[in-house]
């Protein structure tokens, strides 16, 4: 609504301005009537008006229509169309004026109509909205009415139920009452019966007693070889009034004994408590003096020493008589002094508390605070360190687990991996490896000596070969067919005798082979070597950790520095 208005008002005003301009134009230039007609042309009743005009005035009734118009206009308050001086003569000026005014009026009316229409529209929409609202509200009203009705119904039901329950409760209560009454009556009945039964029973017992006991039952007897002596060795005394009195006396003795014992216990307890009290007092006194004197001197010089004197007296008195006297004066003194000192102690503690709080609040920039800050920083640092350590441990664990979990393709690596974790084994292997190395060295040495020996042998053999050649030659030359056989037998023996070094050589060779074989026979040696080479790679985790370890402390150092700075 408001929007509508704010928009329309300026439009209206502009329209009126235009209209005003038009009218002024009209006023200034009456020749612009045509234009005015053009302006008026959009009027909805233009045609009809035209026709009306045409119908209204014809050539014949000009006079009448003029006079009619004049009448009409005069009744409407316009000046007469006729000139005043000349009767029945049309005053053109006034006609024109009238026309103009009529036109102005017409326009005004049109505008008003427009406004009214807009207003009407607005109101219509308002109306719609309100109607909607109304409908909604009405619905709501209906709904709430229904709800109310429902609630009322429920309330009624609840009340009904409540009433029923009340009734039930009442019934139950009645029932309980009834049952209680029944129980009570039963109980009395039971008790009564019991008593009756018991009486009967007693009567029977009595009767039985008489029957059994008075029959002089021969069977009721004690058959004893000989009577034994009493435990105390005394003989039984006759029952007399004296013994009765003695028994009484003894009973009271026992009772008294009991009470005395209890009193002793209480005394001991009391003494102990007193001791504790005394000690407490002493400790309080030893704690208090330096604190006690100051305020007293400050506050009341005269009374202070007197009071302390009195206390001292009390203390002395207590010390002297505490254990003997537990009379009321001493007790009072003791409790009073304790109370006093307790008060002082309390004050002192409170004062100390205040001091502490003051120091705490007052000296924010003091050294204490700084140290505390330092402390906090330190703890923070330490915590950070702990955190990092924990993280590291976690990563290590993870890596370890990963390594353990990852399937190893070749046995060597798995062995190696295992070795990584089994330091012992590794050490053992290293030792073995060392041993092997030594062995290898030894073998090398031996081999060298053997080669030397072989060379020597080779030389000797050469010489021997030469000798043999010469000898054979000789033999050949000086040989006969008979001799030949015998010589043939000899030669092998000569061979065998000379072949020892050769054999040795063979042996040596076989031995020499061994070190060559060793790697294949003992892969562990190989392993050792690989271990030596591989660990840095295989123990990547360890290395990693090492690096992290190496790197992290640096970081921390940096951090620490940053923090300390």
């Amino acid at each position: 609504m408001g929007d509508w208005k704010t928009i329309t008002v300026p439009a209206l005003s502009s329209a009126s301005k235009i209209a005003y301009q038009n009218t002024s134009e009209k006023k200034m230039s009456p020749s612009s009537l045509n234009m005015q007609q053009v302006l008026c042309s959009p009027l909805p009743s233009y045609k009809s008006m035209h026709s009306f005009f045409s119908a209204f005035c014809t050539e014949e009734n000009v006079e009448q229509s003029i006079s009619y118009l004049n009448r009409e206009l005069t009744t409407l308050g316009f000046p007469s169309l006729y000139s005043e001086c000349k009767d029945k003569e049309l005053n053109v000026v006034s006609v024109l004026n009238c026309m103009n005014e009529l036109l102005v009026l017409q326009r005004k009316n049109l505008r008003a109509q427009e406004e009214v229409e807009i207003q009407h529209l607005k109101l219509g929409s308002d109306m719609d909205h309100l109607q909607n609202c109304y409908a909604k509200v009405k619905e709501q009203l209906e709904a709430s009415r229904r709800e109310i009705v429902g609630l009322q119904e429920r309330d009624r039901q609840q009340q009904c139920k409540n009433r029923n329950l009340h009734q039930l409760l009442k019934n139950e209560k009645d029932e309980v009452q009834k049952l209680q009454n029944i129980i009570a009556s039963r109980a009395t009945q039971y008790n009564h019966d019991m008593k009756r039964k018991e009486r009967e029973y007693n009567k029977l017992k009595e009767r039985l007693h008489q029957l059994v006991m008075n029959k002089k039952d021969k069977k009721i007897a004690m058959d004893v070889l000989n009577y034994v002596g009493r435990v105390d060795g005394k003989r039984g005394a006759w029952k007399t009034g004296k013994t009765e009195a003695r028994n009484e006396e003894e009973m009271y003795k026992v009772l008294l004994g009991g009470y005395e014992q209890r009193q002793k216990q209480l005394l001991v307890e009391n003494a102990e408590l007193k001791k504790v009290l005394q000690q407490m007092k002493k400790e309080m006194i030893s704690l208090l003096p330096p604190q006690k004197q100051k305020p007293k001197e400050r506050a009341e010089d005269g009374i202070g020493p007197v009071l302390s004197d009195m206390e001292e007296d009390a203390v002395e008195l207590n010390k002297e008589n505490m254990w003997e006297l537990s009379c009321e004066t001493v007790r009072e003194q003791l409790t009073n002094s304790i109370r006093k000192q307790w008060r002082m102690l309390k004050n002192h503690v409170e004062k100390l508390d205040n001091q502490v709080s003051r120091a705490h609040s007052g000296a924010l920039n003091g050294s204490d605070v700084i140290s505390r800050e330092d402390h906090e920083l330190e703890t923070e640092k330490l915590e950070l360190e702990i955190q990092q350590c924990k993280e590291m441990i976690k990563t290590q664990q993870q890596l370890l687990q990963q390594q353990l979990m990852s399937p190893c393709d070749d046995d060597d690596t798995s062995v190696l991996l295992q070795d990584c974790y089994l330091l012992e084994e590794r050490e053992r292997l290293q030792e073995e490896w060392k041993l092997f190395r030594e062995q290898k060295k030894n073998f090398e040495r031996e081999r060298r000596s053997f080669t030397e020996a072989a060379i020597r042998l080779g030389l000797e053999r050469k010489a021997f070969e030469e000798d043999r050649g010469a000898w054979l030659k000789q033999q050949f030359l000086s040989m006969t067919s008979d001799h030949k056989n015998s010589e043939h037998v000899k030669t092998p023996s000569a061979y065998s005798g000379s072949s020892d070094p050769d054999n040795q050589l063979m042996n040596f060779r076989s031995r020499q082979k061994k070190p060559h074989c060793l790697p294949s026979v003992h892969p562990s040696e190989d392993l050792c070597q690989t271990i030596q080479h591989i660990p840095p790679n295989s123990n990547s985790s360890v290395v990693l950790n090492k690096t992290t370890e190496d790197s992290k402390p640096k970081q921390w150092k940096g951090l620490n520095k940053a923090e300390t700075e």
Binding site: K205, V212, K215, R230
Partner: protein
């Protein structure tokens, strides 16, 4: 630990003599006296019928054997084996027999509680006490043996008679404000007598030796009341177990309640140690027992088949729902006993039959709960130290001390169900009793060193 050979026994009749030198046991109609140290038979007495009850006299010189069925009591002397004494109650019958504290008088209760006959071994005199009340704890002697309190019933009212034991003279006679008195018990110092009413009403009365009513205590009304009562050895506390599954402790100064111990099914306090007995089948596991030193002795002889585990709290104990519409429902505190040093109180709640609660009396707090595999039959404190022996009707004996607890298998073949046990007065040995004709000895070494572990 040494176990003796098994001896025959009938109707669980086995008792150590008060001086600790002898052990009496019964087999049918024979009474066998053994030396405690070597278990050799010292004496063998033959009674007229199957023995139903035995009791040592306080000076360990005499032993009485009651044969209720025949109404006979036979007394034997250890010093003079040929000495004999037979008391015949004749047609009056016999339902109970006991020694007077001086060991020279025998109190026989006739059938229907017609009267109590006091027979003297020193003189021919016989005294009769009429109107004894038919109740379980009707007779109570003071610890020093000077006085006897007797519950009486006459004209539908309860009375207490106090007698001087030396000459059986009536010292005091007074009526009690009870509906139906069910028990009396002297405080160990002999100055206060606790009197409690029937279970239908929670009421306990405390009388001085001179018959004055010191105090009355009633915890609640309209419900089943007192089930068991126990004095602390120092006479300082009176523990009252009731059907509401609580133990209330009264003090000896004001006779007001100091505290009450509840026995809930669930134990949630983490400070309480809950030992739970666990079945063990393998021997290897027993060696990792709570008592490592025990295995050296025990498992060399036999394999222990159960052990104690410390349960994590909260623990829910095995609970038996009592049948409440029957008489004597299995609910409430049926057993309670103070340790001889006054430091602990052991209790058993009848509707949690497998558990024993041990309370710290100094702190007045629950200390330990033992949960057994089977229902607890009996527990008894070592007379010398805070050590509790428990039997649950199986072939094991359980021992608890503040240091810990242990289960000991009785090294016997076959079904050996320990139903009862009794400590020797020195606490060094213990007799284990079963329903069968068996009897086992266990000499516990004086230095029971495995108990000191943990």
């Amino acid at each position: 630990m040494n176990f003796s050979e098994v001896f025959k026994l009938s109707s669980l009749l086995c008792k150590f003599s008060p001086d600790g030198k002898y052990l009496a046991s019964c087999v049918q109609y024979r009474l066998i006296i053994r030396d405690v140290n070597n278990l050799q038979i010292l004496q063998l007495y033959t009674c007229l019928d199957q023995i139903q009850y035995i009791e040592w006299s306080s000076d360990s010189l005499f032993i009485l054997c009651a044969m209720y069925k025949r109404g006979i009591v036979q007394v034997w002397s250890l010093e003079q084996p040929d000495w004999h004494c037979k008391i015949d109650e004749g047609s009056a019958g016999l339902v109970a027999s006991c020694w007077s504290p001086d060991g020279r008088h025998i109190l026989n209760t006739t059938e229907f509680y017609l009267r109590i006959t006091v027979w003297s071994l020193c003189t021919k005199s016989v005294s009769y006490i009429k109107y004894p009340k038919a109740c379980q704890h009707g007779i109570a002697f003071t610890k020093d043996g000077r006085y006897m309190a007797l519950a009486e019933r006459r004209d539908c009212k309860d009375y207490i008679s106090l007698f001087v034991c030396s000459d059986w003279q009536l010292l005091r006679h007074f009526d009690t404000e009870t509906q139906d008195l069910s028990g009396i018990e002297w405080a160990p110092n002999g100055c206060v007598l606790a009197v409690w009413d029937t279970c239908l009403e929670y009421k306990i009365l405390l009388y001085s030796l001179d018959g004055r009513l010191l105090s009355t205590y009633s915890a609640y009304e309209w419900s089943l009341g007192i089930k068991s009562v126990a004095w602390s050895p120092s006479s300082q506390f009176l523990a009252i177990g009731s059907y509401d599954e609580k133990v209330r402790i009264l003090n000896h100064v004001t006779w007001k309640k100091i505290t009450e111990f509840e026995h809930p099914v669930t134990i949630a306090n983490p400070k309480i140690i809950v030992y739970k007995e666990m079945e063990k089948s393998t021997r290897v596991e027993t060696e990792s027992l709570a008592f490592p030193p025990a295995r050296a002795q025990a498992s060399s002889l036999f394999s222990t088949q159960s052990k104690y585990d410390i349960s994590q709290v909260p623990v829910t104990l095995q609970y038996v729902k009592p049948v409440t519409d029957r008489a004597n429902p299995r609910i409430g505190i049926g057993m309670l006993a103070f340790s001889p040093d006054n430091c602990f109180l052991a209790t058993k709640n009848d509707n949690i039959p497998n558990a024993i609660w041990i309370w710290d009396v100094q702190k007045l707090k629950l200390f330990v709960v033992l949960e057994q595999l089977y229902a607890v039959q009996l527990f008894q404190w070592d007379p010398r130290q805070p050590r509790l022996a428990i039997c649950t009707g199986n072939s094991k004996v359980y021992l608890w001390s503040p240091a810990g607890c242990v289960s000991v298998q009785v090294p016997m073949e076959g079904d050996f169900q320990v139903l009862s046990l009794c400590w020797h007065s020195s606490g060094d040995s213990m007799a284990l009793l079963t329903s069968g004709f068996l009897e086992v000895w266990k000499s516990l070494q004086p230095h029971f060193h495995y108990m000191n572990m943990i």
